[in-house]
């Protein structure tokens, strides 16, 4: 279902960017110009929402990622094997080339003991140790979601587990896909770009410009209400939610044109404010998510 807003041809082109990139990458893999990259999905301290979001992907969908685009080596959520064999499978990849996708935060408290990913050769492996060992040897690192990118909700004040993003524990470039969760298109498009051309053009916080260049406010379908000063006073209204605390003006992401879950809807389409989940600083810097006080003061 395409809801409420027709797209202009340019915008339509933009949200199909991932599909086009992926089909070109696949063409080249099929023509043996390129090989399927190994993909290791390392889950750290978080909610697994990014794995779930990837499974919600459409064109390309998750099955395509799993069976056609990559050699999917490891995922705590999906691996058939368990225990020692699972850990062997994870660490045996070291020495080969692989893209490391990380979801969840690195917990540093008590030297990483707040998050154990498994037992390898009898020893507890912390998320911190796994992030460093696998991160330093990967061809590329992609942090998927806020927790992996800078700590996100896992690092929310007072940050009880001393969580942070993987870029704080490995000494190298991390491509950051912020968002809570990360949209499947942002991840699959980035992987396709890596296969075709290597590292995509990034903004000054290492996010791919093709997804993160423009604020929600700049492309918001409710922009005319803002410009005319027509503001919603409660949720469920079809006007501008700036006064309810909308973070669209500071959040650089393509939600207004891409939307979610097969392009059917998005938070502003659901008559709620953007809470800035794709911007660094979420959640602490984006609070309160919803406020009625701004209007009351007037």
């Amino acid at each position: 279902m395409e809801r409420k807003h027709a797209l202009c041809p340019f915008q339509e082109l933009k949200w199909k960017e991932t599909t086009q990139l992926v089909s070109r990458a696949m063409e080249e893999i099929e023509n043996s110009k390129r090989s399927k990259p190994n993909l290791v999905w390392l889950e750290l301290n978080g909610c697994t929402g990014n794995t779930i979001s990837m499974m919600d992907g459409q064109d390309p969908d998750f099955q395509y990622l799993l069976t056609q685009m990559t050699n999917f080596i490891y995922s705590n959520s999906l691996l058939a094997a368990q225990g020692a064999q699972a850990m062997d499978q994870l660490f045996d990849i070291i020495g080969d080339e692989y893209i490391l996708a990380v979801e969840g935060a690195v917990s540093r408290k008590d030297n990483g003991l707040y998050h154990i990913i498994g037992r390898h050769e009898g020893r507890e492996i912390t998320g911190l140790e796994a992030a460093i060992r696998l991160g330093e040897r990967a061809t590329h690192i992609i942090s998927v979601g806020d927790c992996a990118s800078y700590g996100g909700v896992s690092a929310a004040r007072p940050n009880p587990a001393d969580c942070t993003g993987i870029s704080d524990v490995v000494n190298r470039k991390v491509i950051k896909l912020t968002g809570c969760p990360c949209h499947p298109d942002w991840f699959m498009g980035t992987v396709a770009y890596l296969i075709l051309y290597g590292e995509p053009p990034l903004d000054d916080t290492d996010r791919p410009l093709m997804f993160y260049g423009i604020t929600i406010h700049d492309r918001c379908p409710r922009r005319s209400y803002y410009d005319s000063g027509i503001f919603a006073t409660k949720l469920g209204e079809e006007t501008c939610m700036f006064m309810l605390g909308c973070r669209g003006p500071v959040t650089q992401i393509d939600c207004p044109i891409r939307k979610w879950n097969g392009h059917v809807n998005w938070p502003i389409g659901d008559d709620t404010p953007c809470i800035g989940c794709a911007q660094f600083g979420f959640p602490d810097a984006m609070e309160p998510f919803i406020t009625y006080d701004t209007m009351r003061k007037e």
Binding site: M1, Q58, S107, P158, P160, T272, P288
Partner: protein, 458 residues
Amino acid sequence: MAETIVINPVTRINGFMEIVAEIGKNTVTDARTKGMMFRGFEKMLTGRGPLDAVYFTQRICGICSTAHSMAASLALEEALGIVPSEQGRYLRDLLHACEFLQNHLRHLYQYTLPDYVKLPEGYPLFKTDHNDYRLPAEVNERMVNDYFESLEYSKNAHKMLAILGGKAPHNHGVFIGGITSPITVDMIIAIKSILFGIEKFITEKMLPDVYEIAAYYSEYYHFGGGYGNLLTYGCFQHYKELGTLYVDPYIYTNEQYSHFDPDLITQSDEYAWFNEANDPDREKPEAYSWIRAPRYNGVPFEVGPLARQWLSGEYRHGISVMDRTIARVLEAKKITQIMNTLLENLIPGVTMQQEYEVPTQAYGRGLIDTTRGALGHWLSIEDKKILFYQIITPSAWNLSTQTGEKKGTAEQALMGAPVKDQNMPVEIGRIIRSFDPCVSCATHVVIPGKMDKIIQVV
């Protein structure tokens, strides 16, 4: 002679878990389930704006985020003195039902199936660590197809959720008063159309698949039951005109049914990594997990689809690994029926939202059954901020640590189970996965303060 088996990680669950089991004479003689991750949401919530809890607590869990938005909204409604309209309740429950379908589909196919069905080993993810595969080749092949085909329908369950709630995971729709956006006729027909496809898949594929697995692994009807204590807070229930569409709050213990009393919930941290000040402490002697120990009337209980199917009278075949797995699928079918009823009773265009004022001081409790079972949020507000927030999740009930000599629910389910080959303890994973564990949900701390009045802490 007893031998110790350690499984870590237990894959195909949500979050991180270790199981330590003692095996003597091919039988589990002792077992511990350990939650291996901790973030501390209750500590983070203290001092935040109360309304933000609806979106914030969803980040506890990516596969059941809607559950937390439900419990948080219910707790806030009590604190703010808001009674949602029936239309608001229908829509919110409809949104919640989408999550049940997403979850149950993924649990059966992506999390459970690889225990019984040999997936194509050409893919590294599907390399196996045991050889107890019993399905004939053509049945196995059909189920491999269903593994992949199911992805379309679990994704579509989230698509329905997004139509009602903006996006999934971590929706924006569930809120105080119902959902945020009024429903329109085009949304209703879109949901009906998607639901039609999901229902067809459940009836034609999912139900036959689970019964076929059960036929080839029939001894799994005979172990993994545990205490047989069942509990539900109720869900899809107590509508003014529609009555109860699924299950009311009930408990079942010692083969007796009784009404549920929320004041009998307690929580202990005797064997959890928390010290006397309730701060996390990985060095605590005797402790072995981040998961505390919720009890009802001092006793461990099982929560989830089997508890609900049993307590609603829908399915009372037995309490075991296979019954738990079948109950989840039967529940998926039941949920589609409930959704159809709710859809038939929607009135388009009804607004549910108002401007809410956060009280200076208030207390609220939100108890509801969610995909994995009974979920509770308790909060108190002071100076218009959260003073205290407590979460007891379904997986905390099912994966709790022991209290005294009394084992947690899943630990007890492992006791006495057969393990044919200690080098391939496939039985243990199958038992644990039948509970659909979610460890990212289960690990929580208690904030010192006024909680004694809210939940008695042992």
